[in-house]
């Protein structure tokens, strides 16, 4: 259940941000989570309330923006949608597809006051 650590890391990044620009409360935390990555949105939500309790992010709303999978197929030289991390190219069937999106795990935005 590394989602617990991931949310702890999110809280640390929020604390960093507070040192840079002062705010007293976080209303919303938005994460960008790739569908082909290793973090499960449901597990992130499950951990969020517990982990943020007593921190600067206590009471904040968690929004998760899912990022769809995309790859670069070196056989047909184009970006193709990827439904599995190691799937073949849906256009030409080639197996030389390098994932270019879908592995994201990013704190993208905060709403603060």
């Amino acid at each position: 259940m590394h989602e617990m650590s991931l949310i702890e890391s999110v809280v640390a990044l929020v604390e960093d941000e507070r040192r840079k620009q002062e705010f007293s409360r976080v209303r919303m935390v938005r994460l960008a989570v790739g569908v082909l990555g290793h973090a499960e949105p449901a597990a992130l939500r499950f951990c969020f309330d517990a982990v943020t309790q007593g921190t600067i992010a206590d009471g904040a709303r968690l929004e998760i923006e899912q990022v769809l999978g995309e790859g670069w197929c070196s056989s047909c030289h184009q970006s193709v949608p990827l439904r599995e991390r190691f799937a073949a190219c849906p256009v030409c069937g080639g197996t030389q597809v390098k994932m270019t999106a879908g592995g994201e795990l990013r704190l993208s935005e905060l709403e603060v006051e």
Binding site: E22, A39, T95
Partner: protein, 292 residues
């Protein structure tokens, strides 16, 4: 409390090479980090260090600042771990230490492999071990029985080692230049894949008593590893395990992965593993393009 950065890591003091690191870094110390650093503590940019978890709202309440606003951040959630990993890697390279991060499910034979490897290689390289488990020092004790120094990290509820824990473990090992450092991660085929520790390579250990489709079921770990060791191959005559199908599965998720079949009990295949280590350490010490 940790004397390095003040974090919640408790360290027992049984003498060099026999310490345990305990705790999940539940940092509960003050936020100002005003303690002095009298030793070589390589990595702590304290503004960056993940030492503020769970600290709570630290008395900052700006009554005049109630205006709601949106802040773009766009930072990788693992950026703090990656910063520690980067510092570990830099530190290890500077000290000519070749570090491998062994990852696998529980029971794949990681510790037996390390014990055998240490006994076989001790005359060629000094070897030290960082052991990660949720509880107990059993694995570190097995390693110490070989004479090699070992630091045990207990992660408590944690399901993986992170780069910060490893940086503390490094502080407690005195490693000679040219040493091998084996990091045995927590037995878990999922979470450790996401956490770079600063190692030269991740080595995934899979035993033939597990399913040959493990690489497809847990692709992240096999994708993150440079070498796969298929262990316990002395048991193959008693099992219905398709080695070819397993290799095909591993290569599907990671076309660049190198696979070796070994037995820590009989020694089969270990020469190839040692040759792989020798080639990689040589490549690290004498990068191509630089004079020897």
């Amino acid at each position: 409390m940790c004397t390095v950065c003040g974090c919640g890591t408790a360290v027992s003091t049984k003498g060099p090479g026999s310490e345990n690191l305990i705790g999940t870094h539940a940092h509960d110390h003050g936020q100002d980090h005003s303690h002095a650093h009298s030793h070589d503590h390589h990595h702590h940019d304290h503004a960056e260090g993940p030492l503020d978890f769970g600290k709570g709202i630290a008395g900052v309440n700006l009554s005049g600042m109630s205006q709601e606003r949106t802040i773009r951040i766009e930072r990788d959630i693992l950026s703090k771990n990656d910063a520690f990993a980067h510092a570990n890697r830099f530190r290890l390279r500077n000290a000519d230490i070749f570090a491998l991060n062994f990852v696998s499910s529980p029971g794949s034979g990681k510790t037996s492999l390390l014990v055998r490897t240490i006994n076989d290689l001790r005359d060629r390289w000094p070897v030290a071990v960082i052991e990660g488990d949720q509880q107990t020092s059993r694995d570190a004790e097995r390693i110490r029985a070989t004479g090699a120094p070992a630091v045990q990290i207990n992660t408590g509820k944690g399901c993986h080692l992170d780069a910060h824990m490893v940086s503390h473990a490094l502080d407690r090992l005195s490693l000679a230049p040219g040493s091998l450092l084996f990091i045995e991660n927590v037995g878990n085929l999922v979470c450790p894949a996401a956490f770079d520790l600063g190692e030269a390579h991740k080595v995934v250990v899979l035993s033939v008593t597990e399913g040959e489709d493990k690489p497809l079921k847990y692709p992240d770990m096999f994708a993150a590893s440079d070498l796969m060791l298929l262990t316990k191959v002395d048991l193959l005559p008693y099992l219905e395990f398709d080695v070819g199908a397993c290799l095909a599965a591993a290569l599907r998720v990671n076309p660049r992965i190198k696979v070796l079949t070994i037995s820590s009990r009989t020694g089969e295949g270990l020469a190839a593993f040692y040759a792989w280590i020798a080639a990689r350490t040589a490549a690290m010490i004498e990068p191509p393009g630089l004079p020897a």
